[in-house]
C-alpha cells in the first residue's frame, strides 16, 4: 500500500479526499501509479493526469518521500512510500 496525498483539482476528482491509498505490492513507476489512480477515480482524474497521447502531463510533479521523481518510467515507488501528486498552480 502507498499513501498518496492529492492536491488541487485532483482532490476534487477523488470526491474531496486529501489522502488516498493505492494498492502497490511491488515497485511501480510513477506512470503506473498514476494509471492506478486514474482507474480508481475515473474520467476526471484521467484527464487531469494524462494528455491525449496517454502520457503523464509533464507539469505534474510527483514527490516520493519529499523528493521529486523525474524519471516517469523507473520503478521507484514501493510499499510504504508516501507520495504527493502536485498539479501546476498559477492563482494570484
Amino acid at each position: 500500500m502507498v499513501k498518496v496525498k492529492l492536491f488541487a483539482n485532483l482532490r476534487e476528482a477523488a470526491n474531496g479526499q486529501r489522502v488516498v491509498e493505492c494498492a502497490v505490492e511491488e515497485p511501480v513507476s510513477t506512470t503506473e501509479l498514476l494509471r492506478k489512480l486514474a482507474d480508481q477515480y475515473g474520467e476526471k482524474a484521467q484527464k487531469l493526469l494524462f494528455d491525449k497521447g496517454g502520457g503523464v502531463w509533464q507539469s505534474i510533479v510527483i514527490m516520493r518521500n519529499g523528493e521529486m521523481v523525474r524519471d516517469r518510467e523507473a520503478k521507484t515507488i514501493g510499499p510504504g512510500d508516501e507520495i504527493a501528486v502536485l498539479l501546476p498552480v498559477a492563482g494570484g
Binding site: 491525449k52 502531463w57 498539479l87 498559477a90 492563482g91 494570484g92
Partner: protein, 246 residues
C-alpha cells in the same frame, strides 16, 4: 552601505530587534527594490508587507479595472473603486501606509514588450500573476538578467512557494514545461485569506533573499494546505533538457 535615520531606527526597531536581523538587514532593505507583478489577492499583501518592512522601492505591474468579485481578496483596492483601474488604487493605498516608499505602478501586466524594462529596474521579482504565460515570461527574463524570482501561486485552499535563483536552482520552466489543456485561470475558488497567507510568506521570502537573513526556499517547494493546515517542503530538481536554464 546606506545609513538609517533616527526615524527609521525608531520605526523599524521591533524587527531590528530580531536576533540575526539587526540594523544590517534593515540597511540592506533600505537599499533594495522589488517588482510585484499583479497586486491582486496575492501580490497586494506581498507589496504591503514589503512596504511595511522598509524596502526602498517597489515597482508594481497590474492592468485592468476592479470588479465586485475582486473585493473578497484584493485588499489594496477600494470598496468604491469598482470599474476603476486597479494600479492607481494599489499605489494610493501603499503610499498612504508608507509615505517613505518609492513607488512606480504600471497600469499594465508584464508582457513581452515591457518585461525587460520591468525586471531590469529591480533587485528581485515577486511573481504573483494569475497566468502561466506571464509567469513563464517573467521566469525567462529573470533567468536572462540573473535576477532572483520568488515564485508564488495558489489554487483553492492550496498555496505554493519557491525561490528561483539563477543559475543555481531549477527554474519555473523545469516544473511547468507545458500548460495542461484543462487549466483554466478562473477554474478554482479563492478564499482571500489563502492568497493573503501566501502573500505574507512571499514578502517574508523576498526579505530573506534581499537581506541574506535565514534560510530561503532555493530548490525547495513549500506547499501550504489551508484545508488541513499543513506545511510541506519538497526538494525540486532541474529538468536536464530545460530550454531556459538547462
Amino acid at each position: 552601505m546606506v545609513e538609517l535615520t533616527e526615524w527609521e531606527l525608531e520605526k523599524f526597531k521591533r524587527q531590528i530587534q530580531i536576533p540575526g536581523f539587526g540594523e544590517e538587514a534593515q540597511r540592506k532593505l533600505k537599499a533594495s527594490s522589488a517588482l510585484v507583478t499583479r497586486v491582486g489577492g496575492l501580490g497586494g499583501p506581498t507589496a504591503m508587507w514589503l512596504a511595511a518592512a522598509g524596502i526602498r522601492r517597489l515597482v508594481l505591474a497590474h492592468g485592468g479595472t476592479l470588479t465586485p468579485s475582486n473585493l473578497n481578496r484584493q485588499i489594496l483596492m477600494r470598496g468604491d473603486g469598482v470599474g476603476k483601474p486597479r494600479a492607481p488604487q494599489a499605489d494610493e493605498t501603499l503610499r498612504r501606509f508608507n509615505p517613505d516608499l518609492e513607488l512606480k505602478a504600471y497600469g499594465e501586466d508584464a508582457k513581452p514588450h515591457n518585461v525587460a524594462e520591468l525586471v531590469g529596474q529591480v533587485d528581485l521579482v515577486c511573481d504573483c500573476s494569475p497566468d502561466f504565460g506571464e509567469r513563464l515570461l517573467l521566469n525567462a527574463e529573470c533567468w536572462r538578467q540573473g535576477k532572483p524570482m520568488v515564485e508564488a501561486g495558489m489554487n483553492g485552499m492550496e498555496a505554493h512557494l519557491t525561490t528561483i535563483l539563477p543559475p543555481h536552482t531549477p527554474c519555473l520552466q523545469c516544473t511547468v514545461p507545458e500548460v495542461p489543456d484543462w487549466w483554466d485561470p478562473l477554474g478554482f475558488g479563492v478564499l482571500g485569506a489563502v492568497p493573503g497567507t501566501l502573500g505574507a510568506l512571499t514578502a517574508l521570502e523576498a526579505i530573506k533573499v534581499l537581506t541574506g537573513f535565514g534560510e530561503i526556499l532555493a530548490g525547495t517547494l513549500l506547499v501550504f494546505d489551508g484545508e488541513d493546515m499543513t506545511f510541506s517542503k519538497f526538494a525540486i530538481s532541474k529538468r536536464p533538457d530545460c530550454p531556459v536554464c538547462g
